[in-house]
Symmetry: C2
Subunit: 345 residues, 2 copies
């Protein structure tokens, strides 16, 4: 459906050489797995699109934003080329804790959304990208997008940030803390030094189950599950659902990557908002912050607040809100609204 | 301060004999640990007060509602006698899973708030209580209080229910599910068949940490912790706080009791509200439901809704709201407001 038009690779792996983090630590041996979709020829005229994935996402943007991608769609593959990298720390081809442990004795380093952003500069240079029509992402991807605003290596027309605050709140850190505690309660965690394929399945499942509550909403659970026990005798459907969500993530994600990217989310903080806005204004023409009215994890008010602060600093910064019963995950569900925002803004 | 006036025992243990649950299961060998405070003589005229504790509370009401108790206080020990039992399933002297396992091969039975209520009838008979001036409790204790309304063994003047819904929502069940999953991720859980003192400490700590987030509020965490890491390098203060709360509970509570009482909370459902109101109207003169405006766990709107339904059914049912940054736990914190509600209503 969205096959790559001639002129560029559809996927690749880029060694980052000597990578320096935002706070000046030199890290060697990192690699970035990426994918390119769309029309690379047309992108020379209309600009590229850079997409950042969320906590358990990947460079396969079609896998989680598929309905937005295609000729004439919001992420228009006839006019643009779309590039997405698997974020550093993740387990879908870029360097994460598992690959790191193969070559280093010291633990996987703390990475921030700023670091995850910085890793994209060599990728865009490698692809010959000189201008972005759009940089966007949601949740962790939204945090990385906000940092892209401050650190963009090429001029960027529009930055659209879904469901991400300017700094992670203590309550959001708290949800992550409990997820860490659940993973650590599983002895298979072994402080991250487990053998491949033998990670803390029960702990990671519990962590994912908690995350799912914060990604959805009570209104949705009322409508979807109520107090029914229709699947397993003596077990509420919502209990069954959460356990299944846990099992599904265990089958596809690595616990150490999960912990590393939660840490990145905890560390997210663009700092003083006026300064961040001024940095962004030098690189990005327009910023749009998108909140979800039912988001439990990163409140709509948090998105509204940084958007207002960017505007007060003189930037072209708009706030949009998705109305949904689905909570935080609405940016992966409410296709019409997401499409409308990406088109109009 | 609130020493017992002559005329009654200050504490005791009552074998329940052949106890029958609300759904007709006969259970033998159960015991109830209870405490009595205040003036038993005066209570013959002014009535007794029955208090139900929350998930990790105990019959020691002074330990968690101390500021409300004393001569001239809302729970007036000069005019009333106060009785509280450790709820069945708990680990503070009444029969819980540990004691059950000593005498039974089958697992500890599912108990509902209705069952926890029913166990109080023989206790009041044993103490010679013929009338209650007040029955009250919060959270799980509020659920038990609501069931007391439907099943009171003696006439009750006022029923004051803090921070409890008419039926536990799927989202609240979801929080409990994750807590169960965290406990199960700890191999020391052994499906509840661990040796005394050797329970799933890490799993229970993670469960408690999650519960604490739902007992408090984002507003409180913002003010109290922000994004500070002032205690341990590289660890956010809110992370430190949650781990400490987990450790504190592990030191004082049994994991199997915790699981049993979470199950009781999940099973809480007074059923059709008009029918529940009519049952209650035959036993209780006035019902007051108290919500907390920032409660994440049992929403103020849930309390308001059942109170309105009871009123619509013809009961004297009032709704009051505690305004607090502290979330669900406000009924254990906002002494002036709780005292005011207990006095005025």
């Amino acid at each position: 459906m969205t096959a790559l038009v001639s002129g560029g690779p559809s996927a690749g792996e880029l060694p980052l050489g000597s990578f320096v983090t935002a706070d000046g630590r030199a890290l060697s041996g990192l690699r970035l797995r990426y994918r390119v979709l769309g029309n690379v020829e047309a992108a020379r005229e209309h600009g590229w699109i850079l997409v950042f994935h969320a906590l358990t996402g990947s460079a396969d943007v079609e896998g989680w934003w598929g309905p937005l991608i295609g000729p004439g769609r919001a992420l228009d593959t006839s006019r643009h080329a779309i590039v997405a990298a698997n974020l550093l720390g993740s387990c879908y081809g870029s360097t994460g804790p598992r690959e790191w442990a193969d070559e280093h004795d010291e633990p996987f380093p703390d990475l921030t959304p700023a670091d995850l952003t910085l890793a994209h500069a060599p990728l865009l240079a490698h692809l010959g990208v000189e201008r972005l029509a759009l940089a966007t992402g949601g949740s962790l991807g939204g945090m990385v997008a906000l940092e892209w605003g401050r650190r963009a290596s090429v001029p960027t027309d529009r930055l659209v940030v879904f469901a991400a605050p300017a700094a992670t709140s203590p309550q959001a850190i708290a949800w992550n803390t409990v997820q860490r505690m659940a993973i650590e309660a599983d002895p298979a965690w072994r402080r991250g030094r487990y053998f491949p394929g033998r990670g803390p399945a029960a702990g990671l499942a519990a962590a994912r189950a908690l995350a799912m509550i914060t990604y959805r909403s009570g209104v949705e659970f009322d409508a979807r599950f109520g107090r029914q026990s229709s699947r397993t005798a003596g077990r509420f459907d919502v209990d069954h659902y959460l356990r299944r969500q846990g099992d599904k993530l265990v089958a596809r994600f690595d616990a150490a990557s999960y912990v590393a990217l939660m840490r990145a989310m905890d560390l997210h903080d663009v700092g003083e908002l006026r300064a961040a806005a001024l940095e962004t204004a030098g690189r990005v023409r327009r910023v749009v912050g998108v909140g979800v009215d039912t988001d439990l994890l990163y409140l709509a008010s948090e998105v509204r607040d940084w958007t207002a602060a960017y505007r007060a600093a003189g930037m072209d910064a708009q706030y949009r809100e998705i109305h949904s019963p689905s909570g935080h995950d609405a940016f992966l569900i409410e296709w019409d609204q997401v499409e409308g925002i990406l088109r109009e803004c």
